[in-house]
Symmetry: C2
Subunit: 205 residues, 2 copies
Amino acid sequence: MLEFAILGLLHQSPMHGYELRKQLAQVLGGLRSISYGSLYPALKRLYAAGYVTTDEPDPRAPLPADAPPLTGRRGKVVYTITAEGKERFHELVSQSGPEAYDDGGLFGVRLAFFRHTAADVRLRILEGRRRTVERQREGLRASLSRTRERLDRYTLELQRHGLDSVDREVRWLAELIDRELTDSEGRRDDGAAQGDPPAQAPPEP
Amino acid sequence: MLEFAILGLLHQSPMHGYELRKQLAQVLGGLRSISYGSLYPALKRLYAAGYVTTDEPDPRAPLPADAPPLTGRRGKVVYTITAEGKERFHELVSQSGPEAYDDGGLFGVRLAFFRHTAADVRLRILEGRRRTVERQREGLRASLSRTRERLDRYTLELQRHGLDSVDREVRWLAELIDRELTDSEGRRDDGAAQGDPPAQAPPEP
DNA sequence: GGATCGATGTATCGGGACGATACATTAAGG
DNA sequence: CCTTAATGTATCGTCCCGATACATCGATCC
């Protein structure tokens, strides 16, 4: 999940880890931030996979005998996406299966990078997410009406608020889907509609 | 976090792991369930800490030489809370600091066990949670008005939905707090109000 | 009668994410 | 000048999750 987000950001411009974290927090919706304990290992994985490169020669060499607790000078490291990384990102961005929307966190990241996503993929993801959340809602409704009597008021309140949230998400998704459909109709009728720059990522050769 | 929830459930009656998981899913609000990969290690930790006991003599013995992949017959294991476990639960249930409300997940669990929580602790937790979420809301509002122009519509939509959710949570919490205050007034006016069984856990000796 | 399917039930493994922590450099401001 | 805040890199232990394996039991189907 981080993999996708990092590649997406580096796709726009090279960055430090620190800057990456800030952008990430913004793009993820402002509330949920990412910790360094996730970020740096993720970058290491991406480096190992060949998807990103660094300025610094290579921090592989583990400095053999350095008894004092590793007080080696730490320079800034700029991460840059490689050609393989871009390829990987386009591969990920074109996926529209359940893995794209079953997990809410990943769905959020996908949404944040929708401007790099083809229109048909966007629609499939939004509709998949809606189905998923609708199923959750039905399950919740059933459970609530089944156990309404036996729960104390706090648990009940928790369930009601949860159901309300899920319900709101469904409506929100329906709105987004509507807008997608309206836009694509407009584009079909009009040749090129206003205010919607076409997506990158052509339909995969 | 699981520690609290498990102790809370076992406080009511002994249970199998399987049953525990089902009850947990119900109590946690219906959406978020707990996986066995969390549950059994958690039970193991609680066992090691002396907070729960099992029927089965002791699954410690690691069966020395048994080349076939561990096909030992697996019996049901009933977990029972110990005296130390009950003590630990009451200790946890009386905490009202930031750790009780800063994390939404833990707050949910705390709320689910509010019927075991003293009235003053309930109020402190609810108000703490409200402050936390209000701060989140303000941060989100600021970030949104700061970056409104530069964000694409999808990221914008994500932020708006997030802000809306947070806003709803604040209102929900305000309602819960109101109800707490009303009830305690009623109880003060009336001696013993209806429909609100008094909390266990006296104010910590 | 037997096959099979879904619920019940226990348990591990690898990996991902987090919070806490340590350490270093530069900017700002009192 | 000194101290605070922001910038910046990185690891550690811990928790939790999804996937997976194994096992038993009742019901339903053919």
